[in-house]
């Protein structure tokens, strides 16, 4: 389109300078706080201090665990839902996809508050459990890891379903019948045919869900509270209550690293399967 690269670069310059000055530089300044020694120079002591605190260890592991569980659960449910949706008639497909996307247009605050009503002692879930005789007294679901898990799953499942729908639509229509004809059972069809062919959708969906779960603030704040801290709620506490920007910067850096690591790991898993298959 352009006669030389220089012109194209020059046109991109204002946007690049803008992004650098208002985004990149502040982020670097903020993150560098975590590596600055009080007496000058650089150090990682803020990180060793952070991880030597048992509370922080517990919060870190809980965040990692919930992020992984939400990602796995959304992949399992997401594949089933995406399969069902792509097999629909075109008209119905559009409508159902619209329904899947709909919750994304409602504020997370409203959605999360709805969970307080649903999961509460007198909420529908407990009423149903008691009516069916599953429990005698109301279960305590609110302010627990279970509540955060449910809230995050509902929040991010649509992203996984949408990613998988587009991946499944790009898969050759006759791949599954062909595998069946050649004698593969349903598990083999999924593991050896569908998964490799839709791995990109899974990587994109998985990254979105995992990083979303790590960085969501409202849902863990409302459904977990300070009794079940996650890294984001701990970060908020450090800034707004303790005024400890060094610890906050450490947590922010850990969250960024975890997001990148998740993306790299998911890509690795996908390419590793590719290599395994290539000699055949």
């Amino acid at each position: 389109m352009f006669q030389n690269r220089a012109e194209a670069l020059a046109l991109a310059l204002p946007a690049a300078i803008f992004a650098a000055t208002v985004f990149l530089v502040p982020v670097v300044i903020l993150l560098s706080d975590g590596f600055r020694a009080p007496a000058g120079g650089w150090t990682i002591s803020a990180y060793t201090d952070f991880f030597s605190n048992p509370l922080n260890q517990a919060v870190f592991l809980r965040t990692l665990r919930l992020g992984a569980l939400v990602t796995i659960a959304s992949a399992v449910i997401g594949y089933a839902a995406a399969f069902a949706i792509v097999s629909l008639e075109p008209g119905a497909k559009g409508k159902v996809t619209g329904l899947v996307v709909l919750p994304l247009m409602i504020s997370p605050v409203a959605r999360t508050y709805a969970w307080i009503v649903i999961l509460g002692r007198t909420g529908i879930v407990n009423q149903a459990f008691q009516a069916l005789g599953i429990t005698e007294a109301p279960l305590r679901i609110l302010f627990s890891e279970t509540a955060i898990f449910i809230g995050l799953l509902q929040l991010f499942l649509p992203l996984m379903i949408i990613s998988l729908i587009s991946a499944l639509e790009n898969m050759p229509k006759d791949a599954i019948p062909a595998a069946r004809v050649l004698g593969a059972n349903w598990f083999q069809v999924f593991w050896k045919v569908v998964l490799p062919l839709t791995k990109e959708g899974l990587v994109i969906g998985g990254t979105l869900v995992f990083t979303g779960s790590l960085t969501a603030y409202i849902t863990p704040a409302i459904l977990g509270g300070s009794k079940v801290l996650m890294l984001e709620t701990l970060l908020y506490q450090q800034v707004a209550v303790s005024n400890n920007f060094v610890a906050a910067s450490v947590i922010a850096f850990i969250l960024i690293v975890m997001s990148f690591a998740a993306n790299i790991l998911l890509k690795r898993v996908a390419t590793a399967r590719n290599k395994q298959r290539s000699p055949q």
Binding site: N4, A10, L13, P14, P54, R121, G225, S226, K227, A240
Partner: protein, 344 residues
């Protein structure tokens, strides 16, 4: 090529220039830093009438006290804010950090009308109280009976209680009263924090925002919670009988105070504003709207309103407040002990 670079550079300069608002210095401005609560009412009762009197412009910054103090610290060399309202303990913190000046109370015509406890809460001449509040326990009187702060931890009650997190304004006072009830009231709050920690699995939640409690009470998620009197009004509108406890150890609470920034550009104007806020007229109006309990003893309120506030000299005197120095010197230790015993 050069032209393209020049043009894009010019475009950038243009957008950056447009983002700056031209500095208009046509009138005196007074910058104040306040809590974000009830700003519509403050605007109507305090800010707008004052602007008319002084012929000046009022710039209002809001936020929680930690954020606002951090901002004052950052702008220490060239102060932006002229006066601020903070908690008693934060006023002492600001004073220790050298951020504030002594208040010349001879310039406050309403000073003599204040309750004695509000005149110089930290005994250093650096702050003046403008409102105070009691902290006690709001509870379902049909489900339980609260005679002592320790009752909240009884086995039959603990699983129906929301306790304030140590990081909230109500947290340390509530722990202090629990310490009194347990007859172990040391400044490090170790015994009460351990007592709460032992019941952490049962306690419904450690709340950080009191606004959440009304919903939890309405859903019968909780039956009781220690709260500040300033959040009491919505509880009285619930369909259940909710009572305000008068435990035998007494009630605790807190006081909010006005401070004057060191080196502020408009100290005279700031003092004039403080005096206006402390006047009987303004304090009465703020009380009538249930915004702030008055610190001015000339404020006379009908019983219906007084019942929803922390009203009267006797009440003010009877509150068991944690001294600011104790709060400041122990805050970090409380959070540490709390995180060890309760947080994990």
């Amino acid at each position: 090529m050069n032209k393209v670079i020049l043009a894009s550079g010019a475009a950038l300069m243009l957008t950056m220039g447009a983002a700056q608002t031209p500095a208009l210095a046509q009138e005196k401005t007074l910058t104040i830093s306040v809590y974000a609560l009830a700003q519509d009412e403050y605007k109507q009762i305090v800010y707008e009438p004052f602007q008319k009197i002084c012929g000046c412009k009022l710039v209002v910054e809001t936020g929680n006290s930690v954020e606002r103090l951090a901002k004052m610290e950052a702008n220490k060399a060239n102060p932006v804010v002229d006066m601020a309202v903070v908690s008693m303990a934060d006023a002492l913190a600001a004073s220790r950090a050298g951020l504030i000046d002594k208040i010349d109370t001879s310039k406050l015509s309403s000073f003599g009308k204040l309750y004695d406890v509000a005149k110089d809460p930290n005994k250093d001449g650096m702050s003046v109280g403008y409102t105070f509040y009691a902290t006690s326990i709001a509870y379902r009187s049909d489900k339980m009976k609260i005679d002592s702060w320790a009752d909240l931890l009884k086995p039959e009650y603990a699983s129906h209680v929301a306790w304030p997190n140590v990081t909230t304004n109500q947290g340390p006072p509530a722990l202090y009263m629990l310490g009194l009830a347990l007859a172990k009231d040391t400044a490090d709050l170790k015994a009460p924090i351990e007592a709460v920690g032992a019941k952490k699995a049962e306690i419904v939640t450690f709340y950080e925002k009191s606004s959440q409690l009304v919903q939890l009470m309405q859903q019968e998620e909780i039956w009781a919670a220690p709260i500040g009197r300033f959040t009491w009004a919505p509880f009285t509108k619930l369909a259940f009988p909710i009572a305000w406890a008068t435990p035998k150890e007494g009630q605790t609470g807190g006081m909010n105070v006005m401070i004057l920034t060191k080196g502020a550009k408009n100290q005279e104007l700031a003092l004039q504003f403080m005096d206006f806020w402390l006047s009987t007229e303004v304090q009465t109006k703020l009380a009538e709207k249930l915004i702030d309990s008055p610190a001015n003893k000339d404020v006379k309120l009908p019983e219906a309103i007084a019942n929803n506030l922390t009203y009267g000299e006797e009440t003010a005197k009877s509150l068991k407040l944690i001294p600011s120095a104790v709060a400041l010197d122990n805050r970090a230790g409380w959070i540490k002990t709390w995180n060890e015993k309760v947080g994990q």
